[in-house]
Symmetry: C2
Subunit: 224 residues, 2 copies
């Protein structure tokens, strides 16, 4: 059995939600968003090795929450960096040279078992896999004072977990930071590696607005 | 007071929902999706002139639903066409030469009063306006066997209502159909007219999946 790592990245500060509490700590189901995210993976496989990247000033609060909710799922904690890129870099220091590593947004608790399964299966076969969905809304490209319709059928929206062979992702993250890195796939792609797309699940939303929490409560019937 | 028309386009057949009933007729709040959409506009202003474009084989069923739910908001009904383009074309025959006309998806019941207000205000000033939102997820452009990361900050996702001076939209829809028309703005844009973007609202989703209905029930506290 190869090693399989789950790196959860939770950098949010809560400002976009209009709340004082960072969105990863907002109540959801019987615990909080970030714990639900852990559980989605744990229920898929209790053998995952979990690493959590958190802003330094949130680590104590997280530990208190874990006590409050009796949350004892084993996980290592690493300090988040200035950008998401640096948080992942820090987390990858705890990841071995072989096996597979998934980078996942801490605020995506509704990732399905099917999505996790598809990502790991394709990454094991081809070296990497990221989940995507068709774009439902019309899209326009915009610039200073202009915009134009684009063909949405030529675009997909990208979710997480983004799964890679450990060796590949560690190599990618030895590159210097570039502002055009929008996700882990774009960092790996910068090595000249082809990215493989698999299907995500529509429920796998990133909780960024108060509406998203309502959605998560409504959709997440299986939340513990 | 200028004439203001609301054209609701409801062409869905229900296949994507995995239901036998077209999504515009699914129960929502105390009535059905399409009635909630009517009400969102009616509560903004009872003076709107409503036109509904429906597939011919759904018109009888809609009339029965209206009786069942005692839904007596005045509206004209026109037959839907083969494509959305043709449905709008049919509806525009009932629209006068002056004033403003909004084209809106029948399955977007959660449009806010603010969005409606912004669209009409900008269209009255500049001739047209469409509501948009920042793209939250990473985007990739895809083709046969390839994909590449794109900068999502350069894209916006487009909602409805799309509002135009009647004269402008009627002129646009006299053009022959083109497959690259993805919405009404793209038809008008093809005349060489600049499209004006205003802010939409995140709740203003298009109901296309069972999850979306859960969202609508959860978010739509004001549903009647």
């Amino acid at each position: 059995m190869i090693d399989r790592y789950i790196v959860l990245v939770a950098g949010g500060s809560g400002t976009r939600m209009g709340t004082a509490v960072p969105k990863q700590f907002l109540p959801l189901g019987k615990s909080v968003v970030l714990m639900q995210t852990f559980m989605a993976f744990y229920h898929f496989s209790p053998d995952f090795k979990f690493i959590l990247a958190l802003p330094e000033n949130q680590i104590e609060y997280w530990k208190e929450l874990c006590e409050t909710y009796h949350f004892d799922l084993p996980h290592e904690i690493v300090k988040g960096g200035e950008q998401r890129f640096h948080s992942v870099q820090n987390a990858l220091e705890r990841v071995g040279e072989s096996g597979l590593v998934a980078i996942h947004d801490g605020v995506r608790p509704l990732v399905s078992a099917d999505t996790i399964s598809r990502c790991f299966a394709e990454a094991e076969k081809s070296g990497n896999a990221i989940p995507c969905l068709k774009v439902v809304e019309s899209l326009r490209e915009t610039g200073e004072g202009w915009s134009r319709a684009v063909d949405r059928s030529k675009f997909v929206s990208i979710q997480t977990p983004q799964v890679f062979r450990c060796e590949l992702l560690k190599r990618a993250y030895r590159q210097p930071f570039e502002p055009f890195y929008t996700d882990d796939a774009s960092v790996v792609e910068n090595l000249g590696v082809k990215i493989n797309l698999v299907e995500g699940n529509v429920e796998n939303i990133k909780i960024t607005s108060p509406m998203d929490l309502v959605v998560a409560e409504g959709v997440g019937k299986g939340l513990r």
